[in-house]
Symmetry: D3
């Protein structure tokens, strides 16, 4: 990913990115039924660092399991690189937590860019107050040991019905999170910035009373000409 | 619908309307699992203007489909009458969007009274900031083409397990949306205003320490007499 | 329950309590998929007073049913002891309401500590504005008669996949509600207070840049020694 | 219930009974998502004897619980009257069993008319081989203690979204089970026998090539006249 | 559709057709969660004749509705062309029936090729005994009036998450039903016959002990050469 | 696993094994909502050989993917050891197939003991006719590429809400499949054989008219004494 791509992805919506991927034949990259613990009004962007859970077997998931320094969940929290996003495959099961506020605070302190699960967070209200963006299905108070066994770091996973490979670029906004295959990140970011410029122009036009016909999408020359003028006027 | 009915429906809750319809044998008119994108603190009222989606077939739902000026979704946005509510049958599937913020902004500019889907909106955070009331199941970033093909305007539809006929009166509050058959709107509005007066009286009484026994519902004369005094005192 | 237990339970999170119960082999005491109507920023604590619904049969659930002073829902509202929590088994069905704002206002006036359902409340926005904590699955406008028949007070029930016996201690925070068997309340409260002290210490350490390794859980003596100092310094 | 009613209910379908109840305003008496363990080709008929489960708490549901002669599940099996149907409220949760083949064999030996749960049976294949009709959602091998605590006999319950009172008349065929309020059993049985006669006549007519128009339902005199002749000819 | 296409489609599996459509970018044409009422051991093939239901409003769906000769369900049964398949959009709701045995018998008598719903049939056991192939989600005894209002014939519908246009070619086998866009039926039938020949050859080879490597799919010349010999030997 | 353990596990039911594991604190080892494609009347027993799917990304899952000899699904079919059971984590998603009849035929030819998925099989009717036991959720015709990407062999997986480690012992009967941790297989098999002897004795007693009280479980000496006699008489 080029360095300027990160900045571009900070400025575009997941909806716009979903359309850019749709054009490339990728129709299912938006993580389903996962939302911000608390909307932040800014994007989350970073490469995926993955953690996978399987259903917990009771004998392997007593509290003592956390005393093992190699417990994959705890190791994930201490090794996820700054700037990356820790994303967890909780098999869409929010009946027990994927993590809690202490671990998410540690992630924030370590400079991790965000945290995502298709399960739920415990201490969700406190997590919502942190700076770090966090996404889940719903609050879930029981410890992850109850139903989830952390099993693997940095393998391919599923999250909210999307396949995620380590290094895929994750972008979250106040609506949801999308998974951009690593090799497409630069071109999709470029295209999304262009699309966003046009959409911002369209919103202005619509707010000024214009019809969307011919404007969105642009099917007449007048729309495109007006857009060119707008770009110059607005430095976009 | 009589002109004063609109004003009456602006002042009553969906819960009260649900009970008024229940008395008439209509038990299932509240749209299920649909909520405000952002609560507005005021009602949405208007006749239904319907749009129906069917599951999308890939070859018919490429981005170019939107270039067709007769695409039913786009046509809905430009033809839904001011004061009406655009309501969409998305087959209770929020995995792809029913519409996004540009279209909803256009609806607002055109004076449409509200927009409802049993799917989800993309750019939901922006839609929540608009004036126009919008109701959905949850935010959904993928373009509607991914899963939904807009197929028909102004036919009868299902929305959130309720049958909706064009012209039915929709009322939404901060909890949910209800569908009032057109021919019942006037009488139901009248009755709901009466019920609301009594409920407001009851709330005051309960806040003053009264038991609900005999009061809600009124099974003794004292309750009804006190209510008559309250009505006079409060001009209700 | 000892009198000081109430105060202790006001200060600990449901997540911490869930772990304390997990240690005792109770893995499923957190009510699933139930959330605050509006987060209160303080806990709800009290013994369970139960109300059970069964699916409604139409002939037994006309509006006139509420005129019966022995209707179990209305009786629950007038007899639930101050300080107790009214908890309802709505069979996880939020398609019709479990109660509305008038009844919940009455509960508040009577000094009831909170109200919980695994269904939904009507007039949910108004209930959210009350002082009394209320927990449900989602707003639901139709009267309970539509789908729920109130059938029994003070029997054992299920709520959100948890078995609840009258007198069990319910604790709710801004995430969820947990059910503590009555005979465990004192010891679990004690332990949770201890756990919370350690967790608060850990959060401070993590915010100061410490790794969680060895600290959470404490697997080296340094962590425990630092904690002892912190306790003295903070009077915990 | 009159003695001849049982015989009548043995000869009519659940579908016909559902329509007879629908005429009386009872729209929801068919137990949802429950099917024969193995179709028997004959009806199950009998008054309901109810057993209610709540979610299991681990400490109360160790194997030793079954050593208690008053364990409600075991007591149900030994006290359900011959000719009655044991019906269980398993909260629509088939993840653990409601009962197994030994208990169902005992029910058969005792002359019980059938057994119904909205959960699942263990040893389902063996239960299917028994004479006694059994209905469930799907096979489920884990012992009921895993998730279900038997809590009460002979109270009102819910089963598959239907309210069931002890003594209600249950009728099952190869499709599903319906709950007839006790006071309606005689008249509904009479009406269903009449309806069945007409339906059998219609099937013969349709097999002979007749259109359903005017015949089903009968809207012309010819249909009714032909039916009268058919009744005489067939002794119905 | 060419006349020989029907015969070809009678001989290929839905799985093979799904792959042929997948090659053309159509990934979602198999109707989900719908199965034969009783497997027939032969295919159902025919163009779609559509019937759409919306959620029923009680006042419009009393039993008298069936006395109307233009009731869309009854009209569908009398007008669906011989050789076509009647397919119903029941919004994936099997809680009330889509049709029963009398109507399905009439469809059979009229030479209709099959009947499909994403809801359920009443009298399902009897429908299973008929010659005509029928597909549904599960048996459902309540009359359709309970939850479904028949609203439209021969419009585009959704069925089991697939968009269906009148005239699309439906093929059902003992597993499921697939929807082939009309303009693709001939070429997909041709390709599926070819694929089936190869698959039959592969099964023989595998049964003779061959590995699938290089054989399925054929990635070496030997496999293709052996297949050519097999075709000649077997007249395929 | 001792060699005689296999034979023991062939003779006991999944229900009995579930209880034996329940006694050891393992409450969730039965795979949920997975059933035989066709009941075989005999058990499936073998160590787990695992295959994991993640949600498919379109560009990586074109038909050409199968030409890769290292495609994990195809490799699984050629490398799963004779006597083992191939078990697949399909994330409980039966909307696309986990495998089809050609691959399952190859597994049978190679001496594999069975095949399990928490998704669905295509060509399910043909798979049901094979000798090899196969378990799934429901038939599913679309190729796995549509929604599933085969990603890993022989790692830990989840299947039907159970954690499965390679080498765990799988036992399936006509009801369902259970996962026995490898180190418990011998002792659980021994115990289950003992339990089965007692259960067989109980069934005989119950069929002879005995009450279950005191007999199941045995709480009086008479039951145990009678059992000892029965064992001698029956050589158990």
């Amino acid at each position: 990913m080029k360095t300027e791509t990160h900045g571009k992805l900070m400025q575009v919506s997941v909806a716009t990115l979903a359309t850019a991927l749709f054009k490339r034949g990728l129709r299912g990259q938006t993580i389903q039924d996962v939302r911000p613990v608390k909307p932040k009004g800014r994007n989350m962007v970073g490469p995926a660092f993955t953690l996978r859970y399987i259903p917990a077997r009771e004998d392997l998931n007593q509290l003592a399991a956390f005393r093992n320094p190699d417990h994959p969940q705890r190791k994930a929290v201490e090794t996820c690189p700054p700037g990356s996003v820790l994303i967890m495959d909780s098999r869409k099961d929010p009946r027990a937590a994927s993590a809690g506020d202490i671990l998410v605070t540690r992630l924030q302190m370590r400079g991790v860019a965000g945290v995502v699960t298709d399960g739920g967070f415990r201490d969700a209200m406190r997590i919502g107050e942190l700076e770090i963006p966090a996404y889940h299905n719903r609050p879930s108070s029981p410890t992850n040991l109850t139903l989830h066994q952390a099993i693997e770091l940095e393998g391919p996973i599923g999250c909210g019905d999307v396949g995620v490979f380590p290094g895929d670029i994750l972008v979250g906004d106040d609506d949801s999170v999308i998974v951009i295959p690593q090799h497409l990140a630069d071109e999709v970011a470029d295209e999304a910035v262009e699309m966003t410029a046009y959409e911002d122009f369209v919103v202005e036009e619509v707010r000024a009373g214009k019809s969307i016909t011919g404007l969105y999408p642009p099917t007449n020359d007048a729309s495109l000409a007006a857009f060119e003028l707008w770009r110059k006027a607005n430095g976009r």
